[in-house]
């Protein structure tokens, strides 16, 4: 019976694992390209386990950006998880404290979405189901990072095979993924203009903090809208 639940979770997570796998390999390859060792790349996937923020981390690291900004950016990109753990609290009250720690560690976008769906429909979200779902995504994510990192180390010039455009395009996809948020267009426009200007007048690591700060300050100053928004999720992001 318990095994049954585990395999149900595995089956439910399987298609998400397939969708996430190319991103795992991409992270591994780009991490190497940004100066990480194979160990660093896998270490980050094992400990952070949040694809978009891992990509942001390696990119900022390559720009020699200050450590606090790297950590803050990772925190910011993953900030939506606060909404997930708040919402999930309703369905995992029966987990033991240790099980809760494991559950929150594995809390990615798809993990949240499927658990919420299951809980909402009145089914019990059992720890063993949750673990099955989490493991079929977590373990392959590490393996794909390793494969990507090994593959990345064999590549001589990343430009020759077009790797250098993949990160900016990936980030552009993430930016588009947030487009239903309040003030999205003014924030993006201001951060874009200011970061381009800062790149020209100040120089490389600073364009990130200056451009980001401009967008964030603008968002804090713009008039607030009243209706509470739904958490915006990134498609198939681990």
């Amino acid at each position: 019976m318990i095994n049954d639940e585990f395999w149900q979770g595995v089956r439910r997570g399987f298609p998400i694992m397939l969708a996430a796998s190319p991103f795992g390999a991409l992270f591994g390859a780009l991490a190497i390209d940004n100066g990480f060792s194979i160990f660093d790349a896998v270490f980050m996937s094992v400990t952070v386990y949040a694809g978009a923020s891992q990509m942001v981390g390696i990119e900022l690291f390559n720009h020699n950006v200050q450590p606090w900004l790297i950590v803050l950016s990772v925190f910011a990109v993953n900030f939506r998880h606060i909404l997930y753990s708040a919402s999930l609290a309703r369905y995992i009250g029966h987990f033991s404290p240790l099980q809760k720690l494991v559950a929150f560690f594995l809390l990615t976008d798809p993990q949240y979405a499927e658990s919420e769906k299951k809980g909402e429909s009145g089914e019990t979200v059992s720890f063993i189901w949750y673990l099955g779902f989490g493991m079929i995504i977590y373990l392959p994510w590490q393996i794909m990072t390793l494969i990507g990192a090994i593959f990345g180390q064999m590549i001589g010039d990343p430009k020759a095979i077009g790797l250098d455009v993949l990160l900016p395009i990936y980030f552009m996809g993430l930016v588009l993924g947030f487009r239903r948020r309040d003030n999205w267009l003014p924030v993006v426009a201001v951060s874009a203009v200011v970061s381009v200007g800062a790149m020209h007048f100040v120089g490389s690591p600073w364009h990130v903090s200056i451009g980001a700060l401009a967008g964030v300050i603008l968002a804090a100053c713009l008039p607030l809208r009243t209706p509470p928004e739904e958490p915006v999720t990134l498609e198939h992001e681990v």
Partner: protein, 104 residues
């Protein structure tokens, strides 16, 4: 990289892991302890991902050279309709085509 640089990187990764775990447990802790985040603070926090990510996109678009700019523009159009895997694939095909046949 030297070994002290390497430890430096390991510490940054660990700090990023802790920051991520805080977001993953934070909502649960807040549900049991705290009240609400002030609305302007929430608006600012909501804007952080788009603001940071934009600073990683816009300079590459402007200063990356015509091959990068063109492939990013095409990927942007793809991204308005399709998911990021298609953006990456089409953008990559465009930049490879430009580099191999377009003289870049």
């Amino acid at each position: 990289m030297g070994s002290s640089d390497h430890m430096h990187l390991v510490y940054i990764i660990l700090a990023a892991a802790v920051a991520t775990f805080i977001t993953r447990i934070g909502g649960y802790v807040m549900m049991t302890q705290m009240k609400r985040i002030p609305p302007r603070m929430e608006a600012a926090l909501n804007a952080v991902p788009a603001a940071v990510l934009t600073t990683l996109v816009a300079p590459a678009f402007v200063y990356g050279g015509w091959d990068v700019t063109t492939s990013m523009a095409v990927a942007f159009l793809v991204g308005l309709r399709f998911n990021s895997l298609w953006m990456l694939l089409v953008g990559w095909l465009v930049v490879m085509a430009l580099r191999h046949f377009g003289g870049f």
